[in-house]
């Protein structure tokens, strides 16, 4: 029995010999219902393009003010970074590090790693780091929380709207665009296909 023709469901370990699903189809585990693969049209090309778009958008989203506030004569702009600094100034180091990782560093690494991997696959360039990058990307995935941050921005705005005047900065528009791009990036990246391509490049 050749193990390369088989896979196992990651959530129930059922041994499977799946037919290659066509684009637009979903392959589910027959026992536990786990979504095994959901092939996308031009997965590598789209991942490559979207990660370039993400890399461009992440700079204004990080550097330009998301929201500005005017309150009893005082005015202040908030960026992603100023939230981290403010927590750090109040000696909440743990929370500051967590916010930094989940809203700045991991989203950035996510995009950079997607770009590196998809570029190597697109140009058929083997690299001995490919498998390591792909593993890092998978482990980092759930710790990048831009969409949760967006919800935090909305709740904060609603809380502040009663007592102060709010202004949406250019950074917020870039942030929303980045959110859409990273969402599309996550759905265009077909992990099963990527691992298979990485394996083939190795040979």
């Amino acid at each position: 029995m050749n193990p390369t023709n088989f896979t196992a469901c990651p959530e129930c370990d059922l041994l499977l010999n799946p037919a290659e699903p066509v684009i637009g189809d979903k392959a589910h585990c027959p026992r536990c219902g786990y979504l095994l693969q959901r092939p996308r049209k031009q997965s590598i090309e789209r991942t490559f393009a979207l990660s370039i778009a993400g890399l461009i958008l992440i700079f204004p989203a990080n550097l330009m003010p998301l929201i500005g506030i005017k309150m009893l004569g005082g005015a202040k702009d908030g960026t992603l970074w100023s939230g981290v600094v403010a927590l750090f100034d109040e000696h909440l180091w743990g929370v500051a590090v967590l916010v930094f990782l989940s809203s700045i560093l991991f989203p950035l690494l996510n995009i950079v790693l997607s770009l590196l991997i998809s570029a190597h696959l697109y140009f058929n360039q083997p690299s001995r780091h490919l498998a390591r990058w792909m593993r890092w990307l998978q482990h980092m995935d759930e710790w990048a929380m831009l969409e949760v941050y967006m919800l935090g921005v909305i709740v904060a705005c609603v809380k502040l709207a009663a007592t102060s005047e709010l202004k949406f900065g250019f950074g917020l528009y870039a942030f929303v665009a980045l959110l859409i791009v990273t969402g599309m990036l996550a759905s265009s990246l077909d992990k099963v296909l990527f691992w298979r391509q990485i394996g083939q490049l190795r040979k």
Binding site: K76, G78, A86, E90, A131
Partner: protein, 203 residues
Amino acid sequence: MKIKKTALAQGFIRCHDCGCLSKRADKNRPCPLCGGLLHPRLPNSFQRTAALLLSAFCLYIPANIFPIMTVTRLGVGEPHTIIGGIIALINGNMVPIAMLVLVASILVPLLKLLGISLLLLNVHYRWQSHAKKWTILYRIIAFVGRWSMLDIFMISILVSLVDMGSVAQVIAGPAATAFAAVVVLTMLAAKNFDPRLIWDNQR
């Protein structure tokens, strides 16, 4: 019911990272494709999940007792616990947002703590029924975990924006660290739980 065979029963180990199958004799060796260590199941899954869960339970108490932030207006400070913040939102006629915060910061962490406890009980006492439903519970827990960070991000935004000296100021409280730790610990607990243990116990 037809007895279905797991990969492990057939002598194969699925790599946690890249999903390729290796022979069972290769356990504790690096995966030939991606270099991750091969284990039949996540190592010490039950013990690690239980330890992380217990720590999360302990920290859940200070997270709810201590103030998560203090809002100072014209020199008068007003400490808020998580529940206090929700009540303030309801009193301010912002019920939808109050519900959102209630779900993200009270219900989700609580249901996650209880849900993971139930999953551990299921594995320990080898409950025989509804394995598929238990797997779905695991998926829900793994999916919703990150959304509890909402409160932490909101605080980081408020702290950086509302900083007008004696006029108005928001200071994060000690509960913020405890709450952030609960979120991270429950996410790690869910990540360390191996849902295949549920299926291994089915006869």
